[in-house]
Amino acid sequence: MELFEILTSAAFWAAAIRIASPLIFATMGELICERAGVLNLGIEGIMVAGAFAGWIAVWAGMPLWGGVSVAFMVGMGLGGIHSILSVPFGLSQHVVGIGLTLLATSATFYTYRVMLPEVSTPPKIDAFQPFPIPILSDIPFFGPALFQQTALTYLAFILVGVVSFTLYRTPLGLAVRAAGESPAAVAAQGLSVTAIRMGAVMVGSGCMAVGGAFLTMSAFDSFFFDMVNGRGWICIALVVFGAWRPGKALFGAILFAAFDALQIRLQQTGIGAVVPYQVFLMMPYILSILALIAMSRRAEVPAALMVPFNKGER
């Protein structure tokens, strides 16, 4: 397949959207946290926990959307741990995040092993199936690329809209953005920085967990250790790439996913035979860095990102 042919095929773009979906959830989650001023390095672990929680809930008999909610709640819970430590106590967000990733990951694996000790291939669930949207899915090219996805993918896109709207068009979103820019300004207007930041971290973590659940409930239908495989870290990069804006971050996620889908396909072209496969796997990461360099001049980092706020201090 030639490059042009790959890039113009609907199947390729459908794959890119599929690959992007979990990233979109988690990237929006991280973006919410960072917009409120909290770098959430717990993302990788929260995704693992979400992947497990959603799947096990469905396996235990819950409906699919019930599983998604369970994942969201678990993410909120883990976000709660993060936010208690990082917001009112103001502990280093690096430590809390990495500690939480370790905690969530190991606790998930532990729970899995305790619940399913005798299983050597994890059970499958009836995952979300592609749901072609009537009419839209019949549009040539765009139909198969965009509108024959699973419901969770559609939800990912809706989430971007919701996050965008909330951040820019509601008082709550304004408060979240202000908390990430100048907590002192928020406090001086009679709002609680602590509550806003904690809330943002919890909701953001919930979104991350749903991103994880996408892997076990839509991209695949059962849970494996290590299956999140670094996707959370990618989302941290995507937030920066997206200059902390939901729309740009969505674009970044799709771009990253497109490169991933592309490298998979390029491995089967003529160059695939001569170039080591690792080079292809590196491609999305290298291109992310290049894109970041290209974007770097324009990015506006939330001014209070990683800066704890304690109202007793100045």
Partner: protein
Amino acid sequence: QDPIKVAGIYTVPVEQQWVSRIHIAALAAQEAGEIEYTYSENTANTDYPRVMREYAEAGYDMIVGEIFGAEAEAREVAAEYPNVAFLMGSSFKEDPTLPNLSVFDNYIQDAAYLSGIVAGAMSESGNIGMVGGFPIPEVNRLMHAFMAGAAEMNPDITFQVSFIGSWFDPPKAKETAFAMIENGADMLYAERFGVSDAAQEKGVLAIGNVIDTQADYPETVVASAIWDFGPTMTAAVAAVKAGAFTADDYGQYSFMHVGGCYLAPFGTFEGKIPQAALDLIATREAAIKDGSFTVTINDEEPKSS
């Protein structure tokens, strides 16, 4: 006789296909009252020698596991505990100066070869997709055997080969398989979880590897090359019980003629496989078993054709 105490040490979770065969065989032996079994999974290679030592100190009679990434150190530990039997997956051969360490590996190229014949016969497009984790010998040799089998059935067949750089990323394996299907593959070699799912979703066929997954994909998985660790375990346990465990290559117990590997029953595909293929399989299987045919072991990284 009392059951012997066996400990497994694995560098990946026991869901990983290769390790799952050892784990299942050990659980079966425990069920049968042959052994008392415990295990540590996901042990980093850095920690591996320490865990070996801890089990040895704790009085285990036999330790089974994989030392591909910690060969030298593991052998050193084994040397210090001459009374403990070490049955280790390894790329190397046994060492007579280290009489309590035996090696094994998944030498199931025979079965892989036969599954290749099925694939070659069942693929209409003559295009087979293969998705692997890492190009390590344990993966490469089976892929090559499979490819040889398929090529024997259909010399014009082409292969797409990809590695995803991970043991556990079914979504990624699935996406890779999707790409291969888009690219014309109508038969997939499911080295990783996720590949058969792609095949099932797109209505193409798949060949299983190491474990039998037909029950999960009745319309998709045609045949599987199965590794049965049972014979290896039985032989090793018997040797330990008899006090006769010595440096040996237990890899032989994975060969087809001792039942260490076999082609899974066709099950739902019974009667759907061309007679020519069935005939070839029968001939080759017999020849393999009587030693007149040997499947080449090729550990090089396979490439797309």
